[in-house]
Amino acid sequence: MRATAAEQTQSGGLVLLCLASWAIPGAGHLWLGRRAKGLIFLVALPLMFAIGLAIHGRLFPFDVSEPLVGLAALADVGIGATYFIASALGYGGGDVRAVTYEYGNAYLIVAGLLNLLVVIDAYDVASGRK
């Protein structure tokens, strides 16, 4: 059965919502009127990402020859626009000699993965499942 124009518009809106939610943590919840949740995500996730950078975490490159590096890169990109801004500004080189290097990586990777959970939550709210 072919989707109606209204359904197509709605699914287009959902895609846009998910993209916004990915690019700017919490934007999806703010869009849906859940201001308190959106603001918490907007502050907490970029802050966690920034702490990861400050303690010498590394933004991993997309290297498919090293599967774990590729997966870490995917997780890093989960934080959205913040990842590209940090990369463009030259942050995320990582310092493997730093005591906090592994902690920094954990902060960066988990901030990205948490933002992906936030995107899924925004999708669930928008589609009426929650």
């Binding site: 907490a44 802050l47 966690m48 303690i55 005591v99 906090t100 902690y103 988990v110 936030v118």
Partner: protein
């Protein structure tokens, strides 16, 4: 900021905060869920730390 305890506490705080806000809707439930999760993180870190104490790598 190089303290293992501080870094794991801050990490546990952020993860608990995000999970609590995602999973629960009322501030009371969020506080309860987040507090339990944060406590669980710290407790398990201490427990694992002491369990590993006799086994130096």
């Amino acid at each position: 900021m190089q303290s293992h305890l501080v870094l794991l506490s801050v990490f546990a705080f952020f993860v608990s905060l995000v999970f609590a806000v995602i999973a629960k809707d009322s501030p009371r439930d969020q506080l309860r869920f987040g507090g339990l999760m944060f406590g669980g993180f710290l407790l398990s870190a201490f427990a694992l730390g002491w369990l590993m104490y006799p086994f130096p790598l």
